[in-house]
Amino acid sequence: MNRVTLFSICASGGFLLYILEMVRRRKLREEYSILWLFGSALILVLSLKQDWLVVLARAVGIVYPPSFLFLVGILFILLILIHFSIAISKLHQMNKKMAQEIALMKGNREENAG
């Protein structure tokens, strides 16, 4: 077992536990934890199962198998970032709606008071 795979096992295993703990303490919502859990589990499995990693790396034409881990990691980060952009857009929309509702309600209230 070379050093980079050992490091990868420790890092992704620790990461997985950290995410689970955050969800358990309700500091991270389940819906946002799914991608994190899935991503760290995938990297953990590939670090443990060297043979699978080699096969998968060969299949996509990567000579140095740990590079395949990096590739998976980077793709996973991209996916998470897109997920965040979508979540932010949704919040933006909700925020706009709420601001408009508040303005309309305040307008109604002032009219009734005056």
Partner: protein
């Protein structure tokens, strides 16, 4: 129905216009028999108080939503209160109050769903900066090519819309340069649009919401948003 005159609301989206909004609201109230709604887009100065003192209905947004969100709040107010027509003009004195009847006329005659005041029709003394003229020319081309509307002033913020568009825009209204985007929405709704010549001045007070630095960003963003609106579904 039909016998009562249509109820008309003048909507002014404003941000930090305490110096010009009072006079504008007063001249609207003096010259026209319509209700005046000022949508205060999160100003931190005395815009809201000044507008109220001048006799406008004022809606205060709790935070700055940008021009599209502010104007949309005005449409939602008009929708809830049953107004038949909304006239939207700038809150900074760029538009001429006396031109409002001209913008209303085709809607009152039932000839159009939307009437847009154009600074380029008829005799014009409007002289914009070169980047602005370039931007307007670009959007004009974009609108004309995709909708078939013959538009001279696609970024004009001086327009009137009828009940049908008030209801639609209350649910869907774009955020930046909403007027350009609105053309594709109107095209999708098969709305009738008419342009009428109006006067437009350089801004009296305050800063334009468009600085040169952001112009290119907005052009890209609006073009993207416009093209996506061509293929979007509206439920």
């Amino acid at each position: 129905m039909g016998k009562t005159p249509p109820s008309i609301l003048v909507v002014l989206p404003v941000y930090q216009e305490e110096r010009s909004i009072g006079g504008l609201v007063r001249s609207l109230r003096e010259q026209l028999p319509y209700d005046v709604l000022v949508v205060n887009d999160g100003s931190t100065d005395r815009t809201s108080e000044t507008a109220k003192e001048a006799g406008a209905i004022v809606l205060d947004l709790p935070c700055n939503l940008g021009i599209g969100g502010a104007v949309q709040t005005g449409f939602q107010f008009a929708r809830d209160r049953g107004y038949d027509i909304v006239v939207r003009i700038d809150g900074d004195g760029q538009h001429e109050v006396e031109d409002i009847p001209k913008v209303l006329e085709p809607i009152l005659a039932g000839k159009a769903d939307a009437v847009i005041g154009s600074r380029f029709l008829g005799e014009t003394e409007y002289r914009g900066s070169i980047p602005r003229i370039f931007g307007i020319g670009f959007f004009r081309l974009l609108v004309n090519l995709t909708t078939g509307y013959r538009v001279t002033d696609p970024t004009s913020g001086f327009f009137a819309i009828n009940r049908r568009l008030i209801e639609f825009y209350s649910g869907h209204y774009p955020s930046d340069y909403p007027e350009v985007d609105a053309y594709i929405l109107m095209h999708r709704l098969k709305a009738q649009t008419v342009e009428v010549p109006v006067r437009m001045y350089d801004r009296a007070e305050g800063k334009s919401s468009i600085t040169a630095f952001r112009a290119v960003y907005y052009m890209v963003k609006v073009t993207l948003s416009y093209l996506i609106n061509c293929i979007r579904r509206f439920g």
